[in-house]
């Protein structure tokens, strides 16, 4: 009786598929309804598209390059006359809009590179410390505390003084000095994860420690890692812009949002648009990344009741 009732119920069901109850399925569903995060995704997508299309756009639409100096056109305020003047020109007559697009390439590229390095170092150390505990944990902890105690800016300055970094090595450097928070969080997660039954099960069928760490524990730590990555890239972009602004990061004529502000500071009175635009883009990008990270955190939280 009960079975036939169930059968007829499902036959009349308005949906043919059960809504997914898995972590990722729930996350996807929640994200679809989260308008703020979706908007952040959209804006970020636009910025990335702008960065990727920079070379093509600058050649075919703006008819200039990011280093084309034209001293007769220096410090023009934004005007609608020509596309390359939409955001004005800098003290060398270069189009600010084009430089912003190339700057997007550099700044966001460095952000991604550094975040990847961050994650690699942080996850490896976090997994090792959390899984093996004991001596290894203590050593890694000591390393983390040491690095955390040195104000980041000094680490960056010291490295900048030692080697003159170009864009790529700057990314590598920033990545190698900000892995600490990732390592700490992963370590905490692994502490909890290693007590779970699936670890015991894997061990009982003979899985090696390394296999357990990377194949079994890591996928369960992944949600947290994704969230961190979003905020991480934002943090790296802020650091890169600060160090480039000081003059020790990306060197001109290569454009980065940070070093566009270095000379702009001197023209504060005559050309405020040179100061407002790059900073605005930095803030916008970091804001989008932050909102995405926040949205991901809410979407992936298994404790939130629907």
């Amino acid at each position: 009786m009960a079975i036939s009732q169930r059968a007829s119920l499902s036959a009349n069901a308005s949906f043919t598929q059960e809504p997914s109850a898995s972590l990722w399925g729930t996350a996807r569903r929640r994200l679809r309804g989260d308008k703020l995060t979706l908007a952040a995704f959209a804006v970020l997508g636009l910025l990335v598209a702008m960065a990727l299309a920079a070379p093509w756009l600058s050649k075919n639409f703006f008819h200039t390059t990011y280093e084309a100096i034209d001293l007769s056109m220096r410090l023009k305020p934004p005007s609608l006359e020509r596309p390359l003047w939409w955001l004005g020109t800098d003290e060398y007559g270069r189009s600010q809009l084009v430089r912003l697009m190339y700057g997007a390439q550099v700044s966001m590229g460095i952000g991604v590179l550094a975040a990847l390095i961050n994650l690699s170092i942080g996850i490896t150390l976090g997994l090792t410390a959390g899984y093996y505990r004991g001596r290894l944990d203590e050593i890694i902890n000591w390393l983390v505390t040491t690095f955390v105690s040195i104000p980041t800016i000094f680490l960056l300055l010291v490295v900048a003084a030692l080697f003159r970094p170009n864009a790529v090595s700057l990314g590598l450097v920033i990545g190698s000095i900000s892995w600490m928070s990732v390592a700490r969080i992963v370590r905490g997660q692994v502490f909890a994860a290693r007590e779970r039954d699936y670890v015991l099960a894997a061990r009982s069928i003979g899985a090696t420690n390394r296999r357990i760490m990377w194949v079994h524990i890591l996928p369960n730590v992944l949600p947290i890692v994704l969230i961190i990555m979003g905020m991480d890239i934002g943090g790296v972009i802020l650091w890169e812009s600060a160090i480039s602004y000081l003059g020790f990061g990306v060197q001109p004529p290569m454009a980065s949002w940070g070093n566009m502000l270095t000379n702009a500071a001197g023209f504060l009175f005559h050309a405020p648009w040179l100061v407002i635009a790059p900073g605005f883009f930095i803030s916008l990008t970091v804001l989008c990344l932050y909102l995405i990270g926040d949205g991901l955190r809410d979407a992936l939280d298994p404790r939130l009741k629907e």
């Binding site: 000591w142 390393l143 505390t145 040491t146 955390v148 105690s149 040195i150 104000p151 980041t152 800016i153 000094f154 680490l155 300055l157 010291v158 900048a160 003084a161 030692l162 934002g234 802020l238 812009s241 600060a242 602004y245 000081l246 020790f248 940070g258 502000l261 702009a264 500071a265 504060l268 009175f269 405020p272 100061v275 407002i276 790059p278 900073g279 930095i282 803030s283 970091v286 804001l287 932050y290 909102l291």
Partner: protein, 318 residues
Amino acid sequence: MKFIIRRLILAIPTLLGITMLTFAIQRVAPGDPVRIFTYAEPDISQEEIVRLRSQLGLDKPLPVQYLVWLGRIVRLDMGRSYTTHRPVTEMMGERIGNTLTLAITALLIALPMGITLGVYSAFKQGTILDNIGRVFAVLGNTIPHFWLGLLFILVFSVHLRWFPSSGVSTLGRQGFDLLDRLWHLFLPAIVLATGGIANYSRYMRTETLEVIRQDYIRTAYAKGLVPWVMLYRHALRNALIPLVTILGGSLASLFSGALVIENVFSWPGMGRLGYDAVLQRDYPVLMGLTVISSALVILGYLLADIAYALVDPRIRHE
């Protein structure tokens, strides 16, 4: 008391780690300590150089060199600058006052504002005011602070002409004019405080929200306590406790922030010293700054831990 000793001992390995790192970097750095002397006498002979090396201890094995260097650091002798040839400690001593003024003022601004904003946000949860507060908190963390400084200069110095844009005091002023100093201090301190306001308000909001849901708050309310009294005597005290830990961690970001802000506002502090040191590849100064600021950061964490134990009786009886 035992607690304090224990925490002090725990801090030592970290201090050693930092000194090891700075020593290693100084060794890796191009530029010879002997340079200081060869700079003065370009025709110095080979034997002289060898003698100088052994005099400076550069021919001893590396670990011994490290220990010697460590011994000097502990006695606050950080060598001499490559450029000005003055003792590094002396150069830092001149500037540290300015940086501390800036940092402490920023902290004094950020704490009350952040706490009030956070608590207020928590009480008005869900309303427009709460959302505005949260937006400010997010913005405080996503906007580059040096850009905010530039914007402030643009608005308040260039257009409105309300505040000066650089320096500690007006040029040519004789003696110590407090009002003038405060006038110059205002903009940089506010900009440096923004990050703190954002963090503290966000933290206080979460904490207060948790606290006011507790049963003892309900009891106090049921007893008929006026909201303000209840707020101060019960809610705030408990919500404030974890903030102490966050405070300790603020010192590190205060230093980093101060360095950039000092550059924007031409503030003559340790940050500017570091900036010039990098430009001139002046490693002794740079390393000295790193060691001192790291030591101060560790001190900050230590004080925060001790304060936490003082404020929260539960920790003391562990």
